[in-house]
């Protein structure tokens, strides 16, 4: 354990989303993977961020739009037909 370990973890935390989204250059990605594998705090933090993102991906609000009125639906249909010259 050393202050460098913590500094390295903080560098990892700073670009973690790009790592999870596979948007880092391959070499940087590999370096991060090696660090994370050997670092329990990083493993823990990565898991928490992954689950937090997974929660967003599952998100459906309780509040849903009211059913579309007939008039509003007709307005949309008419706009589409007019645009396509039907």
């Amino acid at each position: 354990m050393s202050p460098q370990d913590t500094a390295h973890c903080r560098e990892v935390f700073a670009v973690l989303s790009e790592y999870l989204d596979v948007e880092l250059p391959p070499q940087a990605c590999e370096q991060m993977r090696r660090h994370i594998e050997g670092c329990a705090p990083c493993v823990e933090f990565v898991e928490s961020l992954k689950k937090s993102v997974a929660l967003c991906r599952q998100y459906e609000p309780e509040t849903m739009p009211r059913p579309l009125s007939d008039a509003a639906r007709r307005e949309l249909l008419s706009a589409w037909q007019k645009t396509l010259g039907k």
Binding site: M1, D5, L55, C56, Q58, E60, A79
Partner: protein
């Protein structure tokens, strides 16, 4: 569906409207915060989309194309209703603290392993996520909604919001860290209920 609509296939009109109206409502409800505003923006977005449907050059890109219209409608609505100053989120405020137990370093965070891997978004945790999303500053919320809730790519999100991909990545990460921290606090306080 977009390709069929462009070809004049009326059988996909209803499913198309229902699908995108629900998506746009979710985005605008979380951006505007008011049901009435979200209903209005959803309808205006769909109407504008159909009024220029013949300008949709790439049917495969219909999702970002419609979200770009929704984003503009949302901005118009917000300009009319209130002025919210931009807030910057600093990376440092969301990074966890370390504590030392002998030779071991530990993070001061909740035990996220208690959450199952799938289908765990319900009840109070879902309410907490709703609040956390709504409390994000607008600029970060828009990115998180498009990237993580709507599952759009970085490039599509950048195009919709008129940002560079690098700015999208930065805002996404800070937005995610902010949500993670809020949920972390919740999990620590409600560990027994998970």
């Amino acid at each position: 569906m977009a390709r069929a609509l462009l070809a004049g296939d009326a059988s996909v009109f209803e499913p198309f409207v229902d699908h995108f109206r629900a998506k746009i409502f979710r985005y605008t409800w979380l951006m505007c915060g008011q049901r009435e505003d979200a209903e209005e923006v959803s309808q205006e977005t769909m109407l504008k989309a159909f009024q220029k449907f013949d300008q949709l050059e790439t049917p495969e890109q219909v999702r970002p194309w419609i979200f770009r219209i929704a984003r503009n409608e949302c901005l118009m609505k917000r300009r009319k209703s209130r002025f919210a100053p931009e807030t910057e989120l600093s990376l440092d405020e969301f990074l966890p603290a370390f504590r030392h137990e002998g030779e071991t370093r530990k993070l001061e965070i909740a035990d996220w392993s208690a959450l199952p891997d799938q289908n765990f978004l319900q009840g109070e945790l879902k309410d907490e996520l709703t609040r956390a999303i709504q409390q994000l500053p607008d600029t970060y919320r828009a990115v998180v909604l498009l990237r993580d809730v709507e599952d759009l790519s970085t490039d599509a999100t950048a195009e919709i919001l008129g940002l560079t991909s690098d700015v999208v990545k930065t805002r996404l990460h800070r937005g995610r860290l902010a949500l993670r921290k809020t949920l972390d606090t919740y999990l620590r306080l409600h560990r027994s209920q998970i």
